[in-house]
Subunit: 688 residues, 2 copies
């Protein structure tokens, strides 16, 4: 027994006296060093929850949204400096903070020659022109730094042709349309939604389409509301008629010229002409006011019922072109697009609180910093929450009241809007180190879509952690927990746990978790607050990627009082503290097994008979899932039979390594060579 | 201070008494638990070195070479059982031992219809036929299980054409030859060496060659000796005239039907027709007696001086075909090859000694078990050494005298001769686990090529470890060390260490280290004993892959007394013990930095001016090497400033993780998509 007494702790000379030993072991048999067995301290969590302040979040948001801060612009640089100032604050900052730059390929409209879309009569006169800017309702929209709506990575070019209406621009839509209309040399107008932005142009080009206009259908975003005199912002959260969703029109994430490599100054770049997955034809987004003027004039057969929208007219396919009775009769639509690609320096701002026991284990918490315009909700609602978390933790660190067991890294990513670029370049630059050491990635991008309920997507391993945190956070001014509220809005029946809030799968690439989850194989989570989907059909919050996503909009119509922001900060911060401080990582491998069993059952239900017909056996797959389940059971038994506070710290470390690397085991760099980024993540891709 | 006392050790209730504590700390202030701070015990190493017995190795070899044990044959199964018996022995076995099977694609001649090569006169009569078997000198060669010499993975087929002589069958050789002779529809005879086996046929086919004969040139293997009445085995180590080198004629390693996946029964297999890198035309190896009969009859211009060999005739290109004055005049060479591909179950035999402190860290020691015939040297000399190491360690384990700090895994790989198959499938099956946990791989295949000196190839990180072990092992019956002897045969000047034995780079795929080093990125070593290269020009030991590689041959001409085997067992075992027991891993990162600097200087010397002309800057590469050097310096400083026996075991673990993963950091799964296996190892491929 005696031989099991060991000196512990990092550094420090050891001067033992028998007296102290007696005292110590007299008080607490089997006692242990805090440096080695530090575990989650519930009083630290309680203190954290108590100190998270909605007013501070509101002030953060006000600071972050003073000016538009599109990636690499002067406004973006202001936010870089603001983040650094906050994270370097002597009283509430982090252990260290710095910026990291990448030289990345972005796409912008030409300030001097704005993109232009018009209806041109046969004699060459422009008889109608699409709004170049969004109508101002507050001074925000008049800021000269508001970028003209455009489709990033659409090529420059001039296209003139008859207009057709192609629904969402999916392959099925164009196929159906092409049965009635010859699409050669046409311009297609399509709705956002139903397919990736870039897909609408890539698909169209296959049918001979030479230009694409993309608009936001009021049925899909505004619950059919269209009038700015009473119905839309500034009267509500709904999108005004001239509002235009900007966006990146690229399929892949990360810098497009340096796939799989960090975009440093001396990195090899592929030629621009080798970029894949972007529109091959000019593409431009427009508002629904302009779309109304175009679509309601279209000739041709009526489009199917499912293609119809909120406008008070029948949506026709197009002759191609306009009705003979229309003032646009015989006219073409002319697109003049002047976008240009540019290499720009984009910054990530990084901050760290060093771990005291396992500094070589990382919990990463991140959000992008760049917006399309003021970006109050996307992304600043998330950044405002991150800054409140770092303020509360920073104060504890600076006051010497707390140190995490593991290191916490905060990332304020650049150029996310152009394709998750900052986070992906970071993942590519530190590929080996991050894979070897990162326990988890927490993403809080848009923190609040609405006031109704918490929502989360996560790796199955982290489901129980998110639910534990949600149980512990109270709804402001109510007695019930975030968990109790959540389960009423969205739940599922788990074979193991019964009815629980529905934590979604993290299968897409909608925000900066993509490179961490799919490329590095790190257990990841995406946490936010949602609106009530039973009360609106809005695809997302209506001001998304428009000039109306401002502090005024956020504070009036998304989260008045900022209590939902506070809830997200408390929940995500709770998750963060449990990950950084728990002696044993709070991951549940049997939940992963349950998810695999679910996937398998779904696959069998959907494809079982087809596979059987083709004599393809699913037995190997079933066996693999069963073996995984058995392995998780053994791991759980090992954990249950351990007493980590009394055993060697190496035992917890070894089990934690297993838990940390669980997600990594699903990576296969050989899989799916045609799927950029995802090729590493077999699980996520198989689920898509 | 007090708080730094921690209970340690895996499992076990803790019952402390003040008395024991007093006694313990009274004796040794700052004392620590053996479970947590177990370090290399030099007395264990000394004991190990003392117990390694040359006679035991000799007996191992005798057992292993009783019958031919080509992969998946009955003889192979006997060796499987023998390994299991030894490793499951209650007095000298391991903690556990088992077999693991893979269903792999092998290639064999047809027992009922042997391959046949003959000279056929214009009237269709065979006027000369190449020996089907090797001439017996001992009963070994008469064993019915001796496989007919063949080129594994050569296609079956019949080819008839005029003979030409194409030197080593490189692209340069065929190019030169084709300037004089029209190679369409010819049969080429080429020598072993100068290019991969399969390359000789792949290259030839590009020039219209329809069949390839490969022979062992006496100048390259026998120091020109050719007479079996006095010069060759059984009179010496030289190859008898009918000896034929068998071999795998494939470019890639691992099972050819399941690239990157473990070849389990239900694994997806590519169609045989999709296999790349094997001969497209019939190919057959022959002995130099038969080669002499063919080459000395060739017509045409004399081949260049560098193409000439040991035969007492001028080596001509071929007319194509034979001289008009020859009895073969106007005759063709006819090849009738009946090889067939088969799916066979091949076994790895695995054994393990579980680690007592860090069971989740692995040291892997391996060698293949399969041979072409009796395989006394290749591979049984290595297996005999491995069995002696496991006997000595097993005895210590079973007697409770020793437990390694980390786990030791022994692998007796199957089907190496067909392309490193058993080890590669193992690496593919346990890809994630092995990458996460394996500290090092030690390969001892052919343990003794000759009696002169130890030799080693290793990752630069392991150079110092191999040299440390070599310093500690004495040459049997001499006062000097293996190190002192080695440095006389092969040395280099290191900027850091001065003159040291030359440890080679592990860049090739000559044995089972390939999947560990290049695919998994594990620090690897290959250790053996060599002949004196100043005394012979032999490409390798002359009986390599022939029916003469027997116990009789090994014990008479390679290592009489088995003292070189003993030296290898002692050195490799010493390396193994240091890896498994050292508190801090015995890897040297600055030696890696030195190697990178060496590579860079060589690259600059060879390509610097060409690159400068093309305005390609080497600055980013130089900067990367300098940054690596700086990082290794920082790591070394951290190590020097640590006192691992007094600090938390987590500190050593974290630095060990860095040392373990150092090699992995050079992997890039995106690199070199056309290089199977190697695509993961940028360093090795850049060195080739």
């Amino acid at each position: 027994m005696l031989k099991k007494v060991l000196l512990c702790g990092l550094g420090g000379a050891v001067a033992l006296t028998v007296g102290i030993l007696l005292g110590h072991f007299g008080i607490k048999q089997g006692s242990t060093s805090p440096e080695c067995v530090q575990d989650v301290d519930e009083s630290v969590i309680a203190q954290f929850l108590a100190e998270v302040d909605n007013n501070q979040i509101q002030e953060n948001l006000r600071q972050l949204t003073k000016v538009p801060h599109m990636a690499t612009t002067a406004g973006d640089e202001e936010t870089v400096k603001y983040m650094l100032k906050r994270w370097q604050d002597p009283d509430s900052g982090l252990d260290d903070a710095w910026r990291e730059e990448y030289m990345v390929f972005l796409s912008f409209p030409d300030e001097k020659t704005p993109n232009r879309v018009s209806v041109v009569s046969p004699n060459g006169t422009a008889i109608f022109t699409v709004s170049e800017k969004e109508k101002p309702y507050t001074p925000d929209q008049e800021d000269p730094a508001v970028v003209q709506p455009y489709a990033a990575y659409s090529p420059a070019g001039n296209a003139k042709g008859k207009l057709v209406y192609a629904n969402y621009g999916t392959m099925e839509d164009y196929t159906l349309l092409s049965k009635t209309v010859n699409l050669n040399n046409t311009i297609a107008i399509v709705k956002y939604g139903g397919a990736g932005r870039q897909a609408k142009a890539i698909n169209g080009a296959l049918f001979g389409v030479i230009g694409v206009l993309v608009y936001t259908e009021p049925k899909d975003i505004n619950d059919n509301k269209m009038s700015d005199s009473s119905q839309t912002y500034p009267h509500s959260w709904y999108l005004p008629p001239t509002g235009v969703e900007r966006g990146s029109y690229s399929s892949d994430f990360g810098d497009l010229l340096t796939p799989y490599l960090a975009a440093k100054e001396d990195t090899y770049r592929i030629p621009e002409s080798d970029i894949k997955g972007i529109p091959p034809i000019p593409t431009q987004p427009i508002g629904f006011l302009d779309a109304y003027s175009l679509i309601c004039e279209l000739d041709g057969s009526p489009a199917p019922e499912t293609w119809q929208g909120a406008f008070n007219c029948t949506y026709n396919f197009g002759g191609p072109g306009f009705k003979a009775t229309s003032s646009f009769a015989s006219s073409d639509v002319q697109m003049d697009i002047y976008n240009k690609g540019e290499l720009r320096n984009s910054s990530n701002v990084m901050g760290v609180i060093r771990g005291s026991v396992e500094p070589d284990r990382y919990i990463i918490y991140g959000n992008h910093r760049d917006s399309w315009v003021h970006g109050a909700i996307d992304p600043s609602s998330g950044t405002a929450v991150m800054l409140e978390i770092t303020r509360v933790l920073g104060k504890m660190v600076k006051a010497g009241r707390w140190k995490p067991r593991r290191s916490i890294i905060f990332g304020s990513w650049g150029a996310e809007e152009f394709g998750l670029i900052g986070s992906t370049e970071y993942a590519e630059e530190y590929y080996s180190k991050l894979r070897a050491r990162t326990v988890a990635y927490i993403n809080v991008d848009i923190s609040v879509f609405g006031n109704a309920t918490l929502q989360a997507q996560a790796s199955p391993a982290a489901q129980s952690l998110v639910l534990t945190a949600a149980k512990q956070v109270k709804i402001p001014n109510k007695d019930s927990s975030v968990y109790d509220n959540w389960i009423q809005y969205s739940n599922r029946t788990s074979p193991t746990h019964g009815i629980i809030p529905n934590v979604g799968f993290l299968t897409g690439a909608g925000s900066d978790y993509a490179a961490f989850m799919h490329f590095l194989g790190i257990t990841s989570m995406d946490i936010s607050h949602a609106y009530d989907r039973s009360k609106t059909n809005a695809r997302t919050y209506p001001a998304y990627h428009t000039a109306y996503d401002t502090f005024d909009y956020a504070s009036k119509y998304i989260d008045p009082g900022f209590t939902s922001h506070q809830t997200v900060a408390r929940t995500a911060g709770n998750v963060l503290l449990r990950l950084s401080d728990s002696l044993l990582l709070p991951f549940n491998s049997t939940d992963y097994a349950e998810s695999l069993e679910q996937y398998l059952n779904t696959a069998l239900k959907n494809f079982g008979s087809t596979l059987a017909q083709k004599k393809i056996s699913v037995e190997p797959l079933s066996n693999a899932v069963a073996k995984f389940r058995a392995a998780t059971n053994r791991l759980n038994e090992l954990i249950l039979n351990s007493n980590f506070k009394k055993e060697s710290p190496l035992k917890a470390r070894s089990i934690n390594d297993q838990l940390m690397l669980l997600e990594r085991a699903f990576l296969d760099p050989q899989a799916f060579p045609d799927k950029y980024g995802y090729r590493f993540d077999t699980i996520s891709l198989l689920l898509q």
